[in-house]
Symmetry: D2
Subunit: 265 residues, 4 copies
Amino acid sequence: MWLRTSCYLEFDITVPTPFIFMLRPRSGAQQWIASEEYIHQPSVPITEFTDNYGNLCQRLIAQPGTFSISTISVVQTNEYSDSAPGAPFIDIDLLPDSTLSYLLPSRYCESDKFLTLAAEISQGCLLGYDQVAAITQWIRNTIRYETVGSETLLSAAEVNQRGCGVCRDLAHIGIALCRSLSIPARLVVGYLYQLQPMELHAWFEAYVGGRWYTFDATQADLRGGYVTIGYGRDAADVAVFNQFGPPSYPTQTRVEVELMPAKNV
Amino acid sequence: MWLRTSCYLEFDITVPTPFIFMLRPRSGAQQWIASEEYIHQPSVPITEFTDNYGNLCQRLIAQPGTFSISTISVVQTNEYSDSAPGAPFIDIDLLPDSTLSYLLPSRYCESDKFLTLAAEISQGCLLGYDQVAAITQWIRNTIRYETVGSETLLSAAEVNQRGCGVCRDLAHIGIALCRSLSIPARLVVGYLYQLQPMELHAWFEAYVGGRWYTFDATQADLRGGYVTIGYGRDAADVAVFNQFGPPSYPTQTRVEVELMPAKNV
Amino acid sequence: MWLRTSCYLEFDITVPTPFIFMLRPRSGAQQWIASEEYIHQPSVPITEFTDNYGNLCQRLIAQPGTFSISTISVVQTNEYSDSAPGAPFIDIDLLPDSTLSYLLPSRYCESDKFLTLAAEISQGCLLGYDQVAAITQWIRNTIRYETVGSETLLSAAEVNQRGCGVCRDLAHIGIALCRSLSIPARLVVGYLYQLQPMELHAWFEAYVGGRWYTFDATQADLRGGYVTIGYGRDAADVAVFNQFGPPSYPTQTRVEVELMPAKNV
Amino acid sequence: MWLRTSCYLEFDITVPTPFIFMLRPRSGAQQWIASEEYIHQPSVPITEFTDNYGNLCQRLIAQPGTFSISTISVVQTNEYSDSAPGAPFIDIDLLPDSTLSYLLPSRYCESDKFLTLAAEISQGCLLGYDQVAAITQWIRNTIRYETVGSETLLSAAEVNQRGCGVCRDLAHIGIALCRSLSIPARLVVGYLYQLQPMELHAWFEAYVGGRWYTFDATQADLRGGYVTIGYGRDAADVAVFNQFGPPSYPTQTRVEVELMPAKNV
C-alpha cells in the first residue's frame, strides 16, 4: 500500500538551540520511499549523519524565534504485517551478531527486572513468537493506554508500576519482557495509518523464527500500514528530536498519514 | 545555492534483468537534500542498501518491456567550490584511516603506473594542493575531452595513451596521478550546474590540507554548483547503474539541473 | 610503559550456558597489543564479532562442569594520562558525529536526572575539562568507594542516593553528570596498573577540547597505566561477560597487571 | 586442527618510510585465534585500524636501518575445507548486500574482459559451485604456476595472456572468471599448512549456495589448514604491506606453519 506521511513540528526558540532530529524515513527491506521532503524554516545550516543503528539524523542549531520542521514522505509499505504463530525461539548461539545488543537492558527497558513477570506471562507458550504474542496481549489487558503526563519519559519498570502509559511506554514494557526471555527486541518509531488520534507512533519488533516481527500493544489486532522512521534499543536511542540546553517542547505538532491511490504515485 | 536536479533513464528490457542503481544523493556535510523523488515504472519490488563508501544503492529486477527510473532532487550546495593554494600535503602517518584506501591503485586508476609522469608534472610545486592543481591543469592541456566511444570503460593508463576521454576518464587520470604522489584521491559522480552539454558528470576530489577538495579538469576554472550522488575509488565503485546479464544501455537519458530561486524552496 | 595483563575467570556451569565475553583488548590510537592469549577450557566452539562500539566480543556456549577463560596481553600504554586544565567545552554543533550518542541518557546513567546537581558542582568552572575535573573531585569527596553488594548493578541515580559504590558506579555518576552538561562521556572497562586491590577496573572518559580524556574518581590523582578492554555508554554495553539463562557468577577471578622491563618485550 | 603460524619480514630502510601492514589474523566464524604476537623492531609508534573489509591494519613509519616485523599466531581452523558440488548459483536479487561489491571488476580482476572465456569454461555445468569448480580446474590445467617475476603485480587479463603466475595471479583469474558469471568472488591472503614451498599464500572464495567456499587452483585438491589474514576484492585491497615512497622489498621473509598437538594449546 502507498501512504503519504507528513509531520510538522514548530518550536518557540529563545536561545540558540542545538537539535538532533530523526525525522527522515529510509528505504530498506520493508519499505520504499518514493519521494520525500524535509523543510526547516527559517533556513539554518543543517547536516546529516547516520547513527549506530542506521538511522538518518539531522543536526542544526535553531535560532531564536519560531522554528519549524516539515517533512513529507510517500512510502510503499505492507498492507498487513506478517504474523507467525509458532515461529520458534532462536537459541542465543544462533542469533545474528547484529541482534545481540537488543538482548541487553537499556535506559528505559530494564529487562533485568522483568524475569519473573515474563516467565509468568508466557508460561505454557511455545518458545518464540507465541511468547511475544502473549506478552503483547498481557500488556493490552493490563497496562491502560493513557496520554496524560506523557512528556516525562518513564522506564518500563516505572510504567508497569503505574499501570498506564503511552505507545512508547507500552512498547518499552514489551521490549523489557522479551529481552528477559532472551528474545531480541527493539523500539520502532514512525507512522501508523489510521492511528487514533493521529500522531507519531511507537511500537516494537521482536526477533523470532529468524527475522524481526512487528508487535503493537496499542492496537487491538496486528495490522499493516506502518512506516518506520527509526530503530533503537529504546526511546533514548530513537528520539524524534534531542535538544540541548533549556528544554523546549513543540508548540505545534501535526501528523498526517493518508492512503494514496496507487495510480497517483 | 539551491538546485533542482533530475535524471531520467529508460531501458528496453528483453529478459528479467537485475540492476543496482546509485541515483539517490545523500545529505551530508557539503550538501543538503531538501526534497527528493525516485520513481521507477513499471513498479517492481525495490530495496535499498548502503555500500562500503556510504552511498545509497537501489536493487531491483527490471521485467521485459520499457523500464524507467526518474529521480528529482532539490539540493542546497555551495555556489563556489573551495580553493586552497598552498594547502599542504598531509604526511601519510597523519592521514585519517578513512582516506587510506584512496591511496591504493584501483581498477581504472593504476596509480602504480604513473609515478614518473606525476613527478614530472608536479615538479617544483609546493607539496599538496598545488601539485593537484598542476595535475588538473596538465590534464586540461593534454587530454582532449571527447565523448566518442565513451561507453567502453578505459583505465587511466589506456586513456593517457589514447590522449582523449570523457569526464570520467579525465578524473581517473587525475586520481591515478595524485595517488602516485601519495595524495588520497577519489572519484565523484553527480550533477554540475550549467554543464555543457548537460548530462551526469564525474570529477575528483583530493585530500590535502586536512580535507577533501574538488578538482575538475573538464572545466576551465574551479566553480561551484556540484551535487554529489556517489563516491568511490573509481568508476567501478560508483556506477550510476550496474546491470547483470546481457548488457542493456539506456535508450533514453535526460538530465537537468536548474537554479531555484531561494524563496521557492 | 609495557604492561602484562592477565585475567582468569572460572565458572561452575550446571546447564549449557550461552556467554558473550568482552575480554580481548584491541590495539588502537592509545595502546598497542604486542601479544595476546585467549584460552577457554574445556574447548568449545567460539566465534568473535565486533560490536557497535568497536569492541571485540566472543560468543560460546559453556557446557556443564568447570569452565574457565584465561586471557593474557602484553600492552604498550601511556605512563601518564594526559591532563588538560582549561581544555574547552565543544559546542554541540561542532562535536564529531561519533560522540553524539554519548550525550544521551543510558541504562545506568540517567543524565536527565542530574541537571541541577551538575550545575551546582561545576558552578564557576571554565566550561569543559575543568567542569569534568570538578565532577570527578566531587565524586571523590562525596561517594564512598565500597565493594559490598557490588554484584547488583545500580544506576547512577540509585548510587547517588546510596552514597557509595564500586568503580563502575562512580564512573556512572561521572558520566551522568557530564552528559547533563552536554559533555559526551563514556564508560571504559579494563586494567589499571597498581590498582588496589587488583581486579578488573572501570573509569570514564569525557570529550572536551577536541578529544577524549581519562577521568577516574577512584584514584586520588590522575595517573597512567590504563589498558582498555572495551568502551560503551555504560555497564550495559561493556559487560566483561553477558550470560543468558540462570545467573552464574565466576567462582574464581584472578586479575594481574605487571610492569615489564622494556628489554623483554 | 591447531596451527602455529609465523611470519618474519625484514627490511633495509634508507629513508623514513610509512607502512601499512596487514599481518594480524582475526578470529571469526571460520577460525579462532587462541594466541598471537606482533613484534616490530626497533620499536616505533604503531597504531591499528580496521579497513572497509574488516581486516586489521597496522600503521607505522619505519626509520632508516634494519626494520623487522615478527608475527606469531596459534589458530584453530578446519582440517578440511567444505566442498559442495551442486550448491546452487544465487540469483543476484537474493545475494546479501555485503556480497555485491565482490561482483564488480577491480584493479587486478577485470571481470568485464572474461565473459566469453567464463562461458566456455563452465559450459554445461550446473550453475553455482560446479561452475567455480570447473573454473578452478581450468586454471590448474591452463595457467602454469611459476614464481619468476612475481614482484610485478599483473592483472588477471595480463596473467591469462602470459599463461603463468603465482598463487595470487591464479586466484585473480579465478575471481575474474567467477564475477563475469555473476558469482561473487574475493581474494584471501593467509597461510596454508604444508604449502610447498612455504610462504604467504593467496587463494579465493566464491559465494554460492548461500555462503563463501574456498577454492585454490595452486593445489591439486581441495584441502584444509587455511588461516586467513585478510580479505578483499583483489591484491590491491589485501596487500600484506603497502609502503609509500621509494619501493623497499623485504630483504628477508620467513614463513612457518606448524601443526600443534591439541593438548599443548
